[in-house]
Amino acid sequence: MIPLSWYLILAAVLFSVGMFGAISRKNAVAVLISIELMLNAVNINILAFWHYHSQSLGYTEINGLVFAAVVIIAAAAEVAIGLAIIIAVYRLRKTVVASDINVLKG
Protein backbone atom coordinates (compact mmCIF):
# COMPACT_ATOMS: atom_id res chain seq x y z
CA MET A 1 0.00 0.00 0.00
CA ILE A 2 1.26 3.41 -0.86
CA PRO A 3 0.68 5.91 1.89
CA LEU A 4 -1.31 9.00 1.04
CA SER A 5 1.64 11.19 1.88
CA TRP A 6 3.56 9.93 -1.16
CA TYR A 7 0.87 11.21 -3.47
CA LEU A 8 0.70 14.50 -1.62
CA ILE A 9 4.44 14.89 -1.94
CA LEU A 10 4.28 14.17 -5.65
CA ALA A 11 1.58 16.81 -5.99
CA ALA A 12 3.67 19.28 -3.99
CA VAL A 13 6.73 18.62 -6.13
CA LEU A 14 4.82 19.14 -9.35
CA PHE A 15 3.21 22.29 -7.94
CA SER A 16 6.64 23.67 -7.06
CA VAL A 17 8.01 22.91 -10.50
CA GLY A 18 5.06 24.73 -12.00
CA MET A 19 5.45 27.63 -9.61
CA PHE A 20 9.11 27.94 -10.40
CA GLY A 21 8.33 27.86 -14.08
CA ALA A 22 5.64 30.53 -13.74
CA ILE A 23 8.02 32.85 -11.94
CA SER A 24 11.17 32.33 -13.95
CA ARG A 25 10.13 31.86 -17.56
CA LYS A 26 10.17 34.86 -19.83
CA ASN A 27 7.95 33.59 -22.58
CA ALA A 28 4.32 34.34 -21.70
CA VAL A 29 3.11 31.07 -23.24
CA ALA A 30 5.62 29.14 -21.14
CA VAL A 31 4.33 30.90 -18.01
CA LEU A 32 0.81 29.82 -18.89
CA ILE A 33 1.98 26.24 -19.42
CA SER A 34 3.59 26.30 -15.98
CA ILE A 35 0.36 27.52 -14.44
CA GLU A 36 -1.45 24.59 -16.06
CA LEU A 37 1.05 22.27 -14.43
CA MET A 38 0.25 23.87 -11.08
CA LEU A 39 -3.48 23.30 -11.53
CA ASN A 40 -2.88 19.72 -12.58
CA ALA A 41 -0.80 19.10 -9.49
CA VAL A 42 -3.70 20.28 -7.35
CA ASN A 43 -5.88 17.74 -9.12
CA ILE A 44 -3.52 14.93 -8.15
CA ASN A 45 -3.78 16.05 -4.55
CA ILE A 46 -7.57 16.08 -4.68
CA LEU A 47 -7.95 12.67 -6.26
CA ALA A 48 -5.37 11.00 -4.05
CA PHE A 49 -7.16 12.26 -0.98
CA TRP A 50 -10.52 11.26 -2.44
CA HIS A 51 -9.29 7.72 -2.91
CA TYR A 52 -7.97 7.31 0.61
CA HIS A 53 -10.92 9.10 2.14
CA SER A 54 -13.33 6.78 0.33
CA GLN A 55 -11.39 3.79 1.59
CA SER A 56 -11.55 4.97 5.16
CA LEU A 57 -15.23 5.82 4.88
CA GLY A 58 -16.14 2.52 3.28
CA TYR A 59 -18.14 4.06 0.46
CA THR A 60 -17.25 6.27 -2.47
CA GLU A 61 -18.04 9.85 -1.70
CA ILE A 62 -18.53 12.13 -4.64
CA ASN A 63 -17.18 15.50 -3.45
CA GLY A 64 -13.68 14.80 -4.64
CA LEU A 65 -14.69 13.76 -8.13
CA VAL A 66 -16.84 16.83 -8.66
CA PHE A 67 -14.04 19.01 -7.32
CA ALA A 68 -11.54 17.45 -9.73
CA ALA A 69 -13.90 17.83 -12.69
CA VAL A 70 -14.49 21.49 -11.82
CA VAL A 71 -10.74 22.10 -11.67
CA ILE A 72 -10.30 20.69 -15.15
CA ILE A 73 -13.10 22.87 -16.49
CA ALA A 74 -11.83 26.04 -14.80
CA ALA A 75 -8.34 25.37 -16.15
CA ALA A 76 -9.75 25.05 -19.65
CA ALA A 77 -11.57 28.39 -19.36
CA GLU A 78 -8.45 30.12 -18.10
CA VAL A 79 -6.34 28.76 -20.91
CA ALA A 80 -8.82 30.00 -23.47
CA ILE A 81 -8.73 33.52 -22.08
CA GLY A 82 -4.98 33.48 -21.55
CA LEU A 83 -4.20 32.47 -25.08
CA ALA A 84 -6.65 35.07 -26.42
CA ILE A 85 -4.85 37.76 -24.43
CA ILE A 86 -1.46 36.52 -25.64
CA ILE A 87 -2.66 36.65 -29.22
CA ALA A 88 -4.00 40.16 -28.69
CA VAL A 89 -0.65 41.29 -27.28
CA TYR A 90 1.24 39.58 -30.05
CA ARG A 91 -0.78 41.35 -32.72
CA LEU A 92 0.33 44.70 -31.37
CA ARG A 93 3.92 43.95 -30.58
CA LYS A 94 4.88 40.82 -32.52
CA THR A 95 6.51 39.31 -29.45
CA VAL A 96 5.47 37.21 -26.50
CA VAL A 97 8.59 37.63 -24.44
CA ALA A 98 7.25 39.31 -21.35
CA SER A 99 10.31 41.44 -20.68
CA ASP A 100 10.05 43.04 -24.11
CA ILE A 101 6.53 44.20 -23.39
CA ASN A 102 7.02 47.13 -21.13
CA VAL A 103 5.33 50.40 -21.83
CA LEU A 104 3.80 50.78 -18.40
CA LYS A 105 6.25 52.44 -16.10
CA GLY A 106 6.17 55.41 -13.75
Binding site: A28, I46, F49, F67
Partner: protein
Protein backbone atom coordinates in the same frame (compact mmCIF):
# COMPACT_ATOMS: atom_id res chain seq x y z
CA UNK B 1 -33.47 18.46 -5.52
CA UNK B 2 -33.69 22.20 -5.94
CA UNK B 3 -36.32 23.79 -3.76
CA UNK B 4 -37.99 27.15 -4.10
CA UNK B 5 -36.03 28.45 -1.19
CA UNK B 6 -32.78 27.63 -2.95
CA UNK B 7 -33.82 29.78 -5.87
CA UNK B 8 -34.91 32.52 -3.53
CA UNK B 9 -31.54 32.54 -1.86
CA UNK B 10 -29.64 33.41 -5.01
CA UNK B 11 -32.38 35.20 -6.91
CA UNK B 12 -30.44 38.48 -7.32
CA UNK B 13 -27.42 36.62 -8.69
CA UNK B 14 -29.65 34.76 -11.10
CA UNK B 15 -31.26 38.00 -12.20
CA UNK B 16 -27.93 39.64 -12.96
CA UNK B 17 -26.54 36.61 -14.76
CA UNK B 18 -29.71 35.89 -16.70
CA UNK B 19 -30.15 39.54 -17.64
CA UNK B 20 -26.56 39.66 -18.90
CA UNK B 21 -27.26 36.59 -21.00
CA UNK B 22 -30.32 38.19 -22.58
CA UNK B 23 -28.46 41.44 -23.07
CA UNK B 24 -25.78 39.57 -24.98
CA UNK B 25 -28.39 38.47 -27.47
CA UNK B 26 -30.39 41.72 -27.57
CA UNK B 27 -27.17 43.64 -28.17
CA UNK B 28 -26.94 42.06 -31.60
CA UNK B 29 -29.90 44.14 -32.75
CA UNK B 30 -28.64 47.39 -31.32
CA UNK B 31 -26.80 49.40 -33.96
CA UNK B 32 -23.25 50.52 -33.38
CA UNK B 33 -24.02 54.12 -32.74
CA UNK B 34 -26.80 53.44 -30.28
CA UNK B 35 -24.88 51.32 -27.80
CA UNK B 36 -26.10 53.64 -25.10
CA UNK B 37 -29.22 51.50 -25.10
CA UNK B 38 -27.16 48.54 -23.99
CA UNK B 39 -25.75 50.62 -21.18
CA UNK B 40 -29.23 51.64 -20.13
CA UNK B 41 -30.50 48.08 -20.23
CA UNK B 42 -27.55 46.94 -18.17
CA UNK B 43 -28.24 49.59 -15.57
CA UNK B 44 -31.92 48.59 -15.46
CA UNK B 45 -30.97 44.97 -14.90
CA UNK B 46 -28.68 45.94 -12.05
CA UNK B 47 -31.39 48.12 -10.54
CA UNK B 48 -33.91 45.28 -10.62
CA UNK B 49 -31.44 43.01 -8.89
CA UNK B 50 -30.81 45.74 -6.34
CA UNK B 51 -34.51 45.87 -5.62
CA UNK B 52 -34.58 42.15 -4.98
CA UNK B 53 -31.56 42.33 -2.72
CA UNK B 54 -33.19 45.01 -0.62
CA UNK B 55 -36.45 43.09 -0.52
CA UNK B 56 -34.82 39.91 0.68
CA UNK B 57 -32.44 41.46 3.16
CA UNK B 58 -32.92 40.62 6.80
CA UNK B 59 -33.32 36.91 6.19
CA UNK B 60 -30.80 34.22 6.93
CA UNK B 61 -31.07 31.25 4.64
CA UNK B 62 -28.78 28.47 3.57
CA UNK B 63 -29.45 27.29 0.08
CA UNK B 64 -28.39 24.73 -2.48
CA UNK B 65 -27.24 22.06 -0.14
CA UNK B 66 -25.55 24.63 2.09
CA UNK B 67 -23.45 25.97 -0.74
CA UNK B 68 -24.74 29.51 -0.51
CA UNK B 69 -25.89 31.63 2.37
CA UNK B 70 -28.14 34.64 2.40
CA UNK B 71 -27.48 36.79 5.42
CA UNK B 72 -27.10 40.42 6.37
CA UNK B 73 -23.48 40.44 5.29
CA UNK B 74 -24.22 39.16 1.82
CA UNK B 75 -27.08 41.61 1.36
CA UNK B 76 -24.87 44.55 2.33
CA UNK B 77 -22.06 43.48 0.03
CA UNK B 78 -24.47 42.86 -2.84
CA UNK B 79 -25.88 46.36 -2.53
CA UNK B 80 -22.29 47.61 -2.69
CA UNK B 81 -21.52 45.56 -5.80
CA UNK B 82 -24.70 46.51 -7.63
CA UNK B 83 -24.33 50.21 -6.94
CA UNK B 84 -20.67 50.03 -8.00
CA UNK B 85 -21.80 48.35 -11.18
CA UNK B 86 -24.33 51.04 -11.95
CA UNK B 87 -21.78 53.78 -11.32
CA UNK B 88 -19.26 51.99 -13.52
CA UNK B 89 -21.81 51.76 -16.32
CA UNK B 90 -22.51 55.48 -15.99
CA UNK B 91 -18.82 56.27 -16.15
CA UNK B 92 -18.16 53.91 -19.04
CA UNK B 93 -20.97 55.03 -21.27
CA UNK B 94 -19.29 58.07 -22.73
CA UNK B 95 -15.71 56.91 -22.16
CA UNK B 96 -15.85 53.86 -24.37
CA UNK B 97 -17.50 55.88 -27.12
CA UNK B 98 -14.78 58.49 -26.90
CA UNK B 99 -12.00 55.93 -26.95
CA UNK B 100 -13.60 54.03 -29.82
CA UNK B 101 -14.02 50.78 -27.96
CA UNK B 102 -17.77 50.97 -28.01
CA UNK B 103 -19.01 47.40 -27.85
CA UNK B 104 -22.11 46.21 -26.04
CA UNK B 105 -20.21 43.23 -24.69
CA UNK B 106 -18.47 45.61 -22.30
CA UNK B 107 -21.62 45.83 -20.23
CA UNK B 108 -22.35 42.12 -20.55
CA UNK B 109 -18.92 41.19 -19.26
CA UNK B 110 -19.23 43.68 -16.45
CA UNK B 111 -22.52 42.12 -15.42
CA UNK B 112 -21.01 38.64 -15.43
CA UNK B 113 -18.28 39.91 -13.18
CA UNK B 114 -20.80 41.50 -10.83
CA UNK B 115 -22.70 38.21 -10.70
CA UNK B 116 -19.48 36.51 -9.68
CA UNK B 117 -18.86 39.07 -6.96
CA UNK B 118 -22.36 38.70 -5.63
CA UNK B 119 -21.94 34.95 -5.55
CA UNK B 120 -18.62 35.39 -3.75
CA UNK B 121 -20.35 37.25 -0.95
CA UNK B 122 -22.81 34.40 -0.61
CA UNK B 123 -20.50 31.45 -0.99
CA UNK B 124 -20.59 28.94 1.86
CA UNK B 125 -18.56 26.18 0.27
CA UNK B 126 -14.93 26.39 -0.78
CA UNK B 127 -15.80 25.12 -4.24
CA UNK B 128 -18.26 28.00 -4.65
CA UNK B 129 -15.64 30.45 -3.41
CA UNK B 130 -13.24 29.29 -6.09
CA UNK B 131 -15.88 29.32 -8.83
CA UNK B 132 -17.10 32.77 -7.83
CA UNK B 133 -13.49 33.94 -7.92
CA UNK B 134 -13.09 32.66 -11.45
CA UNK B 135 -16.43 34.09 -12.57
CA UNK B 136 -15.57 37.54 -11.32
CA UNK B 137 -11.98 37.51 -12.58
CA UNK B 138 -12.24 36.23 -16.12
CA UNK B 139 -14.47 39.05 -17.45
CA UNK B 140 -12.17 41.54 -15.74
CA UNK B 141 -9.12 40.16 -17.53
CA UNK B 142 -10.96 40.84 -20.75
CA UNK B 143 -12.27 44.24 -19.68
CA UNK B 144 -8.75 45.29 -18.75
CA UNK B 145 -7.66 44.54 -22.28
CA UNK B 146 -10.75 46.00 -23.89
CA UNK B 147 -8.86 48.76 -25.68
CA UNK B 148 -7.45 46.33 -28.18
CA UNK B 149 -5.41 48.77 -30.20
CA UNK B 150 -3.61 50.16 -27.16
CA UNK B 151 -0.54 48.26 -26.08
CA UNK B 152 -0.77 49.43 -22.47
CA UNK B 153 -4.23 47.96 -22.21
CA UNK B 154 -3.15 44.59 -23.59
CA UNK B 155 -0.02 44.58 -21.48
CA UNK B 156 -2.08 45.33 -18.39
CA UNK B 157 -4.45 42.53 -19.31
CA UNK B 158 -1.61 40.06 -19.77
CA UNK B 159 -0.03 40.95 -16.45
CA UNK B 160 -3.35 40.83 -14.63
CA UNK B 161 -4.19 37.49 -16.19
CA UNK B 162 -0.86 35.79 -15.53
CA UNK B 163 -0.66 36.90 -11.93
CA UNK B 164 -4.38 36.29 -11.39
CA UNK B 165 -4.20 32.75 -12.74
CA UNK B 166 -1.12 32.16 -10.61
CA UNK B 167 -2.99 33.35 -7.53
CA UNK B 168 -6.06 31.23 -8.25
CA UNK B 169 -3.70 28.26 -8.47
CA UNK B 170 -2.80 29.06 -4.88
CA UNK B 171 -6.44 29.38 -3.85
CA UNK B 172 -7.10 26.02 -5.45
CA UNK B 173 -4.19 24.33 -3.74
CA UNK B 174 -5.24 25.79 -0.41
CA UNK B 175 -8.76 24.50 -0.96
CA UNK B 176 -7.43 21.05 -1.87
CA UNK B 177 -5.31 20.95 1.29
CA UNK B 178 -8.24 21.94 3.46
CA UNK B 179 -10.24 19.22 1.73
CA UNK B 180 -7.42 16.83 2.50
CA UNK B 181 -7.28 17.99 6.10
CA UNK B 182 -10.98 17.76 6.85
CA UNK B 183 -12.66 15.70 4.16
CA UNK B 184 -15.23 18.43 3.64
CA UNK B 185 -15.64 21.31 1.27
CA UNK B 186 -18.58 23.17 2.76
CA UNK B 187 -18.13 25.58 5.61
CA UNK B 188 -20.60 23.84 7.90
CA UNK B 189 -18.81 20.54 7.52
CA UNK B 190 -15.34 22.01 7.87
CA UNK B 191 -16.25 23.95 10.99
CA UNK B 192 -17.78 20.80 12.49
CA UNK B 193 -14.66 18.75 11.82
CA UNK B 194 -12.42 21.44 13.25
CA UNK B 195 -14.39 21.79 16.46
CA UNK B 196 -14.46 18.02 16.81
CA UNK B 197 -10.68 18.19 16.58
CA UNK B 198 -10.27 15.55 13.90
CA UNK B 199 -8.73 17.78 11.26
CA UNK B 200 -5.15 17.27 10.13
CA UNK B 201 -3.69 20.42 11.59
CA UNK B 202 -0.59 20.72 9.41
CA UNK B 203 -2.47 20.46 6.15
CA UNK B 204 -5.17 22.75 7.49
CA UNK B 205 -2.70 25.47 8.41
CA UNK B 206 -0.84 25.28 5.11
CA UNK B 207 -4.17 25.36 3.28
CA UNK B 208 -5.17 28.48 5.20
CA UNK B 209 -1.85 30.15 4.41
CA UNK B 210 -2.20 29.39 0.70
CA UNK B 211 -5.74 30.80 0.72
CA UNK B 212 -4.35 33.93 2.32
CA UNK B 213 -1.79 34.21 -0.47
CA UNK B 214 -4.44 33.82 -3.14
CA UNK B 215 -6.84 36.34 -1.63
CA UNK B 216 -3.99 38.66 -0.76
CA UNK B 217 -3.37 39.01 -4.45
CA UNK B 218 -6.95 40.07 -5.14
CA UNK B 219 -6.94 42.77 -2.46
CA UNK B 220 -3.47 43.90 -3.52
CA UNK B 221 -1.78 43.43 -0.18
CA UNK B 222 1.99 43.49 0.07
CA UNK B 223 3.86 41.40 -1.09
CA UNK B 224 1.27 40.61 -3.72
CA UNK B 225 0.65 44.11 -4.96
CA UNK B 226 3.08 44.27 -7.88
CA UNK B 227 0.39 44.03 -10.52
CA UNK B 228 -1.74 46.92 -9.29
CA UNK B 229 -0.01 50.03 -10.66
CA UNK B 230 0.49 48.61 -14.15
CA UNK B 231 -2.97 47.13 -14.40
CA UNK B 232 -4.70 50.21 -13.01
CA UNK B 233 -2.77 52.43 -15.38
CA UNK B 234 -3.28 50.38 -18.51
CA UNK B 235 -6.92 49.42 -18.17
CA UNK B 236 -9.70 51.68 -19.43
CA UNK B 237 -10.37 54.11 -16.60
CA UNK B 238 -13.99 53.09 -15.85
CA UNK B 239 -12.77 49.50 -15.55
CA UNK B 240 -10.05 50.65 -13.18
CA UNK B 241 -12.59 52.54 -11.12
CA UNK B 242 -14.78 49.46 -10.93
CA UNK B 243 -11.85 47.24 -10.02
CA UNK B 244 -10.53 49.52 -7.33
CA UNK B 245 -13.81 49.45 -5.45
CA UNK B 246 -15.64 46.25 -6.29
CA UNK B 247 -12.79 43.76 -6.64
CA UNK B 248 -11.27 44.95 -3.40
CA UNK B 249 -14.64 44.60 -1.72
CA UNK B 250 -15.12 41.12 -3.17
CA UNK B 251 -11.66 40.09 -2.03
CA UNK B 252 -12.33 41.27 1.48
CA UNK B 253 -15.74 39.60 1.45
CA UNK B 254 -14.08 36.30 0.61
CA UNK B 255 -11.37 36.87 3.19
CA UNK B 256 -13.87 37.65 5.90
CA UNK B 257 -16.20 34.79 5.09
CA UNK B 258 -13.48 32.19 4.90
CA UNK B 259 -11.38 33.40 7.82
CA UNK B 260 -14.13 34.18 10.27
CA UNK B 261 -16.03 30.97 9.74
CA UNK B 262 -13.22 28.51 9.20
CA UNK B 263 -10.04 29.76 10.75
CA UNK B 264 -10.63 31.32 14.16
CA UNK B 265 -8.81 28.33 15.60
CA UNK B 266 -5.73 29.21 13.59
CA UNK B 267 -5.66 32.82 14.69
CA UNK B 268 -2.54 32.49 16.80
CA UNK B 269 -0.56 31.37 13.77
CA UNK B 270 -2.15 33.63 11.21
CA UNK B 271 -2.38 36.85 13.18
CA UNK B 272 1.35 37.64 13.11
CA UNK B 273 1.40 37.12 9.36
CA UNK B 274 -1.59 39.40 8.94
CA UNK B 275 0.05 41.99 11.18
CA UNK B 276 3.13 42.10 8.98
CA UNK B 277 1.05 42.19 5.82
CA UNK B 278 -1.05 45.08 7.10
CA UNK B 279 1.97 47.08 8.23
CA UNK B 280 3.92 46.56 5.01
CA UNK B 281 0.91 47.31 2.83
CA UNK B 282 0.23 50.61 4.55
CA UNK B 283 3.88 51.60 4.42
CA UNK B 284 4.68 50.54 0.87
CA UNK B 285 1.45 51.85 -0.61
CA UNK B 286 1.80 55.28 0.88
CA UNK B 287 5.52 55.73 0.37
CA UNK B 288 5.64 54.75 -3.27
CA UNK B 289 2.59 56.89 -3.99
CA UNK B 290 4.64 59.90 -3.00
CA UNK B 291 6.84 59.46 -6.03
CA UNK B 292 4.14 59.11 -8.64
CA UNK B 293 3.51 61.69 -11.30
CA UNK B 294 0.86 59.80 -13.23
CA UNK B 295 -2.47 60.20 -11.46
CA UNK B 296 -3.68 56.72 -12.32
CA UNK B 297 -0.56 55.16 -10.79
CA UNK B 298 -0.81 57.42 -7.78
CA UNK B 299 -4.39 56.33 -7.17
CA UNK B 300 -3.30 52.72 -7.66
CA UNK B 301 -0.75 52.98 -4.87
CA UNK B 302 -3.31 54.81 -2.80
CA UNK B 303 -5.66 51.85 -3.32
CA UNK B 304 -2.93 49.54 -2.03
CA UNK B 305 -2.53 51.69 1.05
CA UNK B 306 -6.24 51.66 1.77
CA UNK B 307 -6.31 47.88 1.58
CA UNK B 308 -3.63 48.06 4.25
CA UNK B 309 -5.86 50.10 6.54
CA UNK B 310 -8.63 47.55 6.22
CA UNK B 311 -6.16 44.74 6.91
CA UNK B 312 -5.16 46.59 10.05
CA UNK B 313 -8.66 46.08 11.41
CA UNK B 314 -8.78 42.56 10.00
CA UNK B 315 -5.78 41.46 12.04
CA UNK B 316 -8.19 41.10 14.93
CA UNK B 317 -10.22 38.40 13.21
CA UNK B 318 -9.55 35.79 15.83
CA UNK B 319 -10.57 37.98 18.72
CA UNK B 320 -14.13 36.99 19.49
CA UNK B 321 -15.23 40.19 21.19
CA UNK B 322 -13.85 42.53 18.59
CA UNK B 323 -14.66 40.62 15.44
CA UNK B 324 -18.12 42.13 15.16
CA UNK B 325 -16.55 45.57 15.12
CA UNK B 326 -14.02 44.41 12.57
CA UNK B 327 -16.73 43.45 10.15
CA UNK B 328 -18.76 46.61 10.76
CA UNK B 329 -15.72 48.89 10.43
CA UNK B 330 -14.61 47.13 7.23
CA UNK B 331 -18.03 47.41 5.63
CA UNK B 332 -18.27 51.06 6.61
CA UNK B 333 -14.84 51.73 5.17
CA UNK B 334 -15.68 49.97 1.92
CA UNK B 335 -18.65 52.30 1.53
CA UNK B 336 -16.63 55.41 2.38
CA UNK B 337 -13.72 54.35 0.22
CA UNK B 338 -16.08 53.39 -2.59
CA UNK B 339 -17.75 56.79 -2.72
CA UNK B 340 -14.45 58.62 -2.59
CA UNK B 341 -12.75 56.35 -5.07
CA UNK B 342 -15.46 56.53 -7.69
CA UNK B 343 -15.46 60.30 -7.41
CA UNK B 344 -11.71 60.53 -7.86
CA UNK B 345 -11.65 58.15 -10.79
CA UNK B 346 -14.55 60.01 -12.39
CA UNK B 347 -12.41 63.09 -12.32
CA UNK B 348 -9.56 61.20 -13.98
CA UNK B 349 -12.01 60.28 -16.74
CA UNK B 350 -12.84 63.94 -17.16
CA UNK B 351 -9.23 65.01 -17.62
CA UNK B 352 -8.19 62.01 -19.73
CA UNK B 353 -8.44 63.50 -23.16
CA UNK B 354 -7.01 60.54 -25.10
CA UNK B 355 -6.36 57.02 -23.96
CA UNK B 356 -3.59 57.25 -21.40
CA UNK B 357 -2.89 60.88 -22.13
CA UNK B 358 -3.66 63.90 -20.04
CA UNK B 359 -3.43 62.16 -16.70
CA UNK B 360 -0.26 63.62 -15.28
CA UNK B 361 -0.24 65.95 -12.33
CA UNK B 362 0.58 68.86 -14.62
CA UNK B 363 -2.64 68.27 -16.48
CA UNK B 364 -4.56 69.26 -13.39
CA UNK B 365 -3.24 72.78 -13.48
CA UNK B 366 -5.86 75.45 -13.71
CA UNK B 367 -8.89 73.36 -12.91
CA UNK B 368 -9.50 75.27 -9.75
CA UNK B 369 -9.74 78.51 -11.67
CA UNK B 370 -11.69 77.44 -14.74
CA UNK B 371 -13.91 74.72 -13.26
CA UNK B 372 -14.21 75.59 -9.58
CA UNK B 373 -16.90 73.05 -8.79
CA UNK B 374 -14.75 70.23 -10.11
CA UNK B 375 -11.85 71.54 -8.09
CA UNK B 376 -13.90 71.62 -4.93
CA UNK B 377 -15.21 68.09 -5.57
CA UNK B 378 -11.69 66.75 -6.04
CA UNK B 379 -10.65 68.59 -2.89
CA UNK B 380 -13.36 66.73 -1.01
CA UNK B 381 -12.21 63.40 -2.41
CA UNK B 382 -8.57 64.03 -1.59
CA UNK B 383 -9.43 65.08 1.93
CA UNK B 384 -11.54 61.97 2.34
CA UNK B 385 -8.70 59.75 1.17
CA UNK B 386 -6.37 61.46 3.58
CA UNK B 387 -8.81 61.02 6.43
CA UNK B 388 -9.42 64.66 7.24
CA UNK B 389 -12.46 65.35 9.45
CA UNK B 390 -15.79 66.27 7.90
CA UNK B 391 -15.42 63.54 5.31
CA UNK B 392 -16.51 59.92 5.29
CA UNK B 393 -12.89 58.92 4.92
CA UNK B 394 -12.17 60.36 8.36
CA UNK B 395 -14.88 58.30 10.03
CA UNK B 396 -13.83 55.22 8.09
CA UNK B 397 -10.28 55.45 9.33
CA UNK B 398 -11.50 56.34 12.81
CA UNK B 399 -13.53 53.16 13.08
CA UNK B 400 -10.72 51.04 11.68
CA UNK B 401 -8.21 52.52 14.11
CA UNK B 402 -10.62 52.10 16.98
CA UNK B 403 -11.06 48.42 16.17
CA UNK B 404 -7.32 47.87 15.99
CA UNK B 405 -6.78 49.59 19.33
CA UNK B 406 -9.63 47.70 20.94
CA UNK B 407 -8.00 44.46 19.89
CA UNK B 408 -4.73 45.62 21.38
CA UNK B 409 -2.69 46.30 18.26
CA UNK B 410 -1.51 49.73 19.26
CA UNK B 411 1.72 49.50 17.31
CA UNK B 412 -0.15 48.77 14.12
CA UNK B 413 -2.51 51.63 14.75
CA UNK B 414 0.46 53.96 15.17
CA UNK B 415 1.95 52.79 11.90
CA UNK B 416 -1.43 53.41 10.30
CA UNK B 417 -1.64 56.87 11.75
CA UNK B 418 1.84 57.85 10.65
CA UNK B 419 1.42 56.57 7.11
CA UNK B 420 -1.96 58.23 6.91
CA UNK B 421 -0.45 61.55 7.87
CA UNK B 422 2.31 61.04 5.31
CA UNK B 423 -0.27 60.32 2.63
CA UNK B 424 -1.73 63.77 3.09
CA UNK B 425 1.28 65.06 1.16
CA UNK B 426 0.43 63.42 -2.13
CA UNK B 427 -3.29 63.91 -1.76
CA UNK B 428 -2.94 67.60 -1.06
CA UNK B 429 -0.37 67.90 -3.82
CA UNK B 430 -3.22 67.20 -6.23
CA UNK B 431 -5.20 70.05 -4.71
CA UNK B 432 -2.22 72.36 -4.93
CA UNK B 433 -1.79 71.61 -8.61
CA UNK B 434 -5.45 72.24 -9.24
CA UNK B 435 -5.76 75.52 -7.45
CA UNK B 436 -2.33 77.08 -7.33
CA UNK B 437 -0.85 76.31 -10.72
CA UNK B 438 -2.02 78.28 -13.70
CA UNK B 439 -3.03 76.40 -16.80
CA UNK B 440 -5.63 75.79 -19.44
CA UNK B 441 -7.13 72.38 -18.77
CA UNK B 442 -8.88 70.56 -21.56
CA UNK B 443 -11.68 68.57 -20.06
CA UNK B 444 -14.21 66.15 -21.43
CA UNK B 445 -17.32 66.91 -19.44
CA UNK B 446 -20.12 64.45 -19.73
CA UNK B 447 -23.42 64.76 -17.82
CA UNK B 448 -23.33 61.26 -16.36
CA UNK B 449 -19.77 61.60 -15.16
CA UNK B 450 -20.55 64.97 -13.66
CA UNK B 451 -23.54 63.43 -11.94
CA UNK B 452 -21.32 60.76 -10.41
CA UNK B 453 -18.81 63.35 -9.24
CA UNK B 454 -21.49 65.55 -7.76
CA UNK B 455 -23.38 62.82 -5.96
CA UNK B 456 -20.18 61.27 -4.64
CA UNK B 457 -18.86 64.57 -3.33
CA UNK B 458 -22.14 65.40 -1.63
CA UNK B 459 -22.37 61.92 -0.14
CA UNK B 460 -18.83 62.06 1.20
CA UNK B 461 -19.54 65.38 2.86
CA UNK B 462 -23.09 65.00 4.06
CA UNK B 463 -22.93 61.40 5.25
CA UNK B 464 -19.96 62.35 7.36
CA UNK B 465 -22.34 64.38 9.48
CA UNK B 466 -24.40 61.28 10.27
CA UNK B 467 -21.89 58.43 10.16
CA UNK B 468 -23.70 56.38 12.74
CA UNK B 469 -26.47 55.59 10.27
CA UNK B 470 -24.12 53.77 7.94
CA UNK B 471 -22.28 52.21 10.85
CA UNK B 472 -25.58 50.95 12.20
CA UNK B 473 -26.38 49.33 8.87
CA UNK B 474 -22.91 47.83 8.77
CA UNK B 475 -23.21 46.45 12.28
CA UNK B 476 -26.44 44.74 11.44
CA UNK B 477 -24.83 43.02 8.46
CA UNK B 478 -23.77 40.01 10.46
CA UNK B 479 -22.07 36.96 9.13
CA UNK B 480 -23.60 33.60 9.72
CA UNK B 481 -21.06 31.93 11.98
CA UNK B 482 -20.80 28.31 12.95
Amino acid sequence: MTRMIDIYSILPVMIVAGWALLLLVVDLWIPRHRKGITALLAAIGLAIALGFVLASSGNTILGFNQMVVLDGFSSFMQVLFLVSGMVAVALAYDYIQRMNINHGEFYVLMMFSIAGMMLMSQAYNLLMVFLALELLSIPLYVLTGFARTRLESEEASLKYFLLGAFASGFVLYGTALIFSATGQLDFVGIAAVVTAGSANSVLFLIGAALLLVGFGFKIAAVPFQMWTPDVYQGAPTPVTAFMSVAVKAAGFAALMRVFLVLFPSLSEHLTPILWVMAALTMIVGNIVALAQNNIKRMLAYSAIAHAGYILMAFVAFGNGEVVGNTVAATLFYLVAYGLTSFGAWALVIVIEREYGKGILLDDLAGIGKHYPWLGVAMLVFMLSFAGVPLTMGFWGKFYLFRTAVQAGYIGLAIIGLLTSVASAYYYLRVVVYMFMKPGEPKLQINPWVSLVIGVAALAVLLLSLIPWTILELASRAVLLLQ
